[in-house]
Symmetry: C2
Subunit: 335 residues, 2 copies
DNA sequence: CTGAAAGCGCTAACAA
DNA sequence: TTGTTAGCGCTTTCAG
């Protein structure tokens, strides 16, 4: 029974003009304390909230942020998506914004989907993730001068509103852990699907290997389907001179390493030290427990929202990206 | 540089009055074919989209649906969330609606969060999931007469806009598969966290056991943390007269069964037939592959959106819920 | 079939 | 400090 309560109704109920109601909500300092209190009580009691459309029409601001959700392979949906969204929604809600999900319709490009929302002035800005080195969406948003913030580094010519995890450093640290345990022959298992973060992790591996004077090999699986990962890993584990320490480019790959090790009769944590990245919840079932790096999703989300709103509300574009440390979680797979 | 294109600009560019533009968009049949074509071309070329706020203010409709996201335990986020959201966003986008994510702020109840959005008239309706038998959110929305649709059955007194998976039947079928392979001593492994869908699966198990005259035991793990699941399962597997066939209440539990079986030196698919529910992508790493039931997320999402929009746009509340079949996926764990 | 006028609910500029 | 006036961009009457 939403009785379509308007500012007028509230004004009448409180015995003041509608301006006073508006002021109570938007410029409380202009009201006499006594009036403010009385009016606020009425607003509260009636449960009045200004109509968002009317307010937006007037102010030009929507208090809505679009999140361009990544294309999610149904066979391998990102298991961290739920947690990331939760963090983003919470961070935005904290400052009075809501999150709108955006996905291109079939046959529509991501840029077109963006344009549609911009033209209809439905949102104040955009949040992006899974940024590519040369990201068309970023280029497009930057060219249009539309406010956005990105989870993942954007190219130098573009607005530096990004937030990212310092994967390079995190993996260097992982390699350091292997070195400290005496491993000399180590390997990196990555996927060659071309994601920049995988490249960063690989780069961290190489830097770590160099720093510790280890012998480091790289292995790459072509896609991210489990069967392929297991096959590739088994091949790696049966090669002569197999590594004693292995850095997986992500927990999804590490899952394959457990399966492969089992198939080859190798015991992780004893025959093979394994470290990884992502801290997927499902790895809690692995035996022995997986050493990995947790992504600081809450901090990422907060930083993204705060950077975006700096542009939207204050017109200030941050001049440098923000690199957040990963959180190493040491467990038994390290040996 | 969004030049804030208004209907007036487009009218001028096309050499017609602004009404004609509005008509071209909202009542094309009123225009002469030739005019419509010419005007549409201009609209297209300029990339004009009516301001959503202005349109909403006038029409009272927002073309936005709120999805009240379930509280996601960070330690065990629902891995299907990403896929479900994707499906919902796609289904809504197909008919010109967008999805807004809603989560209560700290200290705020879900009902309050709903009220806030309703009062501000930010959305046209709500989508809910993880419905409880006696769901306060459902009661609240129904009492306010706010349009909503639910993934999960709502109580009889409430609007029957729900869509659900027929878990009972699906599990009966699973038990049938075990019976056909000669299993007589079977068990159900559930969690006692009180979710209705777990009860449905349990009920399906009992019905199946009855139908096939089998001996069926029930086991329950208190929470959903992996360690607890594995411990409980091991206890079950080491009891004398252990079951030869096991129905897990969900893949998350099945993951624990694999771990427990391994620890006990039992081979799934040979020493123990295992069937489950959900088809989590991560189970693709399991050896042998898990027999389970896939949730028809796309169909669920489409049905939810279509039912909700029937209420919103046509004022028609469906008189009965919709029960969709699960999709059994037979793999080697069945034996 | 197209043009003029009114108003959705709100806020910001001004007047009292 | 409060009340009055105008107008955000659009759609929807109603005349032409």
């Amino acid at each position: 029974m939403s009785t379509r309560l308007t500012i007028e109704d509230v004004a009448r109920a409180a015995g003041v003009s509608r301006q006073t109601i508006s002021n109570a909500l938007n410029a409380p300092h202009r009201l006499k304390a006594e009036t403010l209190e009385r009016v606020s009580a009425v607003i509260e009691e009636l449960g009045y909230r200004p109509d968002q459309s009317a307010r937006s029409l007037k102010s030009g601001t929507r208090r809505i942020i679009a999140y361009l959700t990544p294309e999610d392979d149904p066979a391998n949906p990102n298991p961290l998506m739920g947690g990331f969204l939760e963090a983003v929604v919470a961070a935005a809600g904290e400052v009075g914004y809501r999150i709108l999900l955006l996905r291109p319709r079939p046959g529509q490009s991501q840029e077109q989907a963006i344009d549609e929302l911009v033209a209809a002035r439905t949102v104040d800005g955009f949040l992006l993730s899974d940024i590519l080195r040369d990201d068309a969406r970023v280029a497009h948003l930057a060219a249009q001068g539309v406010p956005f913030a990105a989870f993942g580094r954007t190219a130098p010519g573009h607005p530096q509103t990004w937030v990212d995890v310092d994967s390079v450093q995190a993996v260097i640290d992982l390699v350091g852990l292997l070195a400290a345990r005496g491993h000399r022959r180590v390997a990196f298992l990555g996927s060659s699907t071309g994601q920049p973060w995988m490249d960063d992790r690989r780069e961290g591996f190489l830097a770590g290997v160099r720093r510790h004077g280890m012998s480091g090999q790289e292995f790459s699986v072509p896609g991210d389907d489990p069967a392929g990962i297991v096959t590739a890993t088994r091949a790696m584990l049966t090669a002569r001179n197999r590594p004693t320490g292995l850095v997986a480019g992500g927990d999804w790959l590490a899952l394959g390493v457990y399966a492969a090790a089992r198939a080859e009769g190798l015991e992780i944590g004893r025959d093979l030290a394994l470290v990884s990245f992502d801290d997927l919840p499902v790895t809690a079932f692995l035996q022995p427990a997986l050493t990995t790096v947790r992504l600081p999703l809450r901090r990422i989300a907060e930083a993204l929202v705060s950077r975006l709103l700096q542009i939207v509300e204050e017109g200030v574009t941050p001049q440098a990206g923000l690199l957040l440390p990963g959180e190493p979680v040491i467990r038994e797979s390290l040996g």
